[in-house]
């Protein structure tokens, strides 16, 4: 049997929901790794623009950390989207090489002699290296497809595509069990840490489900609601995989790609909200202010990272109103 087949067939009989839960939890980890990567970009930018005094070592270890963190993302992606693993690792290796070249070429550049010491700051090799590194991370003027950010977007797209492909074993598992369908709304409801062990005996209702973000999302949606309205009407059935402070929401409608991931625990600084939607979706009418939005060939990404759980909960209410209201 080929390896890819094996990877695909990992889940044997009746473990579809369990695998769905594990993959959803891994996806959350994947997002955490992405977040750390963005934090590294930010750190570099801050040092570059913020009058900091640093040395070459700082830049080298920053580049190193980016490679390390990107590797973790690529690994998660290769588990979440096994078909894409090889392609992603090839791209990763290219970036690893690019990182090594970046460090080497800068190191071989002759140090500015005393006569040049009045040259502009940006000519200092450390600053040059950091500038090059930032360009490599997510420079706006960098040649297409050469930035880490570009690869990140690609990874995201592959992962989401794979998770949501109708043929994925996890997706298929949803239709196996009728008790995961909510009693009150057009929702598949999965308790991430409980349903993996045993499926509920009877149908649950969304309004009783113990997930703080899910409750916020649906706070202003009336009892009969749950079917999306307006331009989101085409959304069809939803899948909500949740735990106390966590929510992973997406739709089964093949024509409308939308995914929302959030952690809003208030206990640690890793709370976040992340949204992916296909290019046809107008995020402006959906999201409250304050989101960072990235458009790409693959679709639209939006996130809000450095926010309190309360802000996330407020955002969820607005998004809920706009989606289902």
């Amino acid at each position: 049997m080929q390896l890819l087949e094996k990877l695909k067939k990992l889940g044997h009989k009746n473990t579809g929901i369990r695998d769905f839960c594990i993959q959803t939890i891994r996806f959350k980890k994947f997002l955490e790794n992405a977040r750390s990567l963005l934090d590294l970009f930010e750190d570099g930018r801050e040092k570059f623009t913020g009058e900091y005094i640093f040395d070459r070592h700082y830049v080298v270890s920053l580049i190193d950390s980016v490679v390390e963190q990107l590797g973790m993302m690529v690994y998660d992606a290769s588990v979440l989207a096994p078909d894409r693993g090889e392609e992603l690792y090839a791209a990763y290796d290219r970036h690893k090489l690019a990182a090594a070249n970046l460090i080497e070429s800068n190191g071989s550049r002759p140090n500015a002699g005393p006569s040049e010491s009045l040259a502009a700051d940006r000519d200092d090799p450390e600053y040059q290296l950091l500038s090059d590194a930032l360009m490599w991370f997510n420079g706006k003027n960098a040649a297409a497809h050469t930035t880490v950010m570009e690869l990140m977007k690609k990874i995201f797209f592959f992962v989401i595509q794979s998770l949501e492909s109708p043929g994925s074993p996890e997706r298929q598992a949803l239709s196996e069990k009728s008790t995961v369908l909510a009693a009150d709304k057009d929702f598949y409801l999965i308790d991430l840490w409980k349903d993996a062990l045993a499926l509920p005996e009877t149908q649950r209702s969304v309004s009783d489900f113990n997930s703080v973000p899910l409750r916020h999302l649906l706070m202003d949606v009336d009892e009969t609601g749950g079917k999306a309205k307006g331009h989101f009407q085409k959304s069809g059935a939803w899948v909500a995989a949740a735990s106390e402070y966590q929510l992973s929401l997406n739709t089964l409608n093949p024509d409308f790609q939308f995914r929302l991931e959030t952690l809003a625990s208030g206990y640690e600084p890793s709370d976040f909200i992340f949204i992916f939607a296909d290019s046809s979706t107008n995020l402006d009418t959906l999201l409250p202010k304050g989101f960072h939005v990235e458009n790409s060939d693959y679709g639209r990404f939006a996130w809000n990272l450095d926010v309190s759980a309360k802000t996330i909960e407020d955002s969820l209410m607005i998004i809920g109103r706009n989606l289902f209201g």
């Binding site: 040092k47 913020g50 009058e51 900091y52 005094i53 640093f54 040395d55 070592h57 700082y58 270890s61 500015a112 005393p114 010491s117 700051d121 200092d124 450390e126 600053y127």
Partner: protein, 126 residues
């Protein structure tokens, strides 16, 4: 800071540090001289002592520890502040045990160094 301006010497062979620090430290009216060569700096120090010496720990010809020792041998009251790179805590510890006033790790903001200098000047003037 309406007292006498401080005389500050900055030594770093990476030149970037001196170049960026000098204007930043001069903003508060202190007198700053920057050097890229340890020997040149020490020769200048021999002519006239400085209140505060800020030196990188790792330099090609003379390292910061040696600078520290030679400065303190000449002028006990001078406060020597050591700039350390990443993960050179060990050396920083050595520097402190040899009488350095304090150390600051890169990356840092000039304002962070400013705070240390203010502490040093407080001690100088007490």
């Amino acid at each position: 800071m309406n007292e006498q301006p401080l005389k500050i010497m900055v030594i770093d062979d990476e030149n970037i540090v001196g170049k960026r620090l000098k204007p930043a430290l001069e903003k508060t009216g202190d007198i700053v001289e920057a050097f890229e060569e340890g020997e040149t700096a020490l020769a200048r120090f021999a002519q006239e002592p400085f209140d505060i010496v800020v030196t990188d720990i790792r330099m090609e010809k003379i390292d910061g520890i040696e600078i520290l020792e030679r400065i303190l041998a000449k002028s006990q009251r001078t406060k020597v502040i050591i700039i350390t790179g990443y993960a050179t805590v060990e050396i920083a510890r050595e520097a402190l045990s040899k009488g350095a006033f304090d150390f600051i790790a890169k990356p840092f903001k000039p304002s962070d160094l400013r705070q240390i200098i203010e502490r040093a000047s407080k001690e100088l003037r007490s």
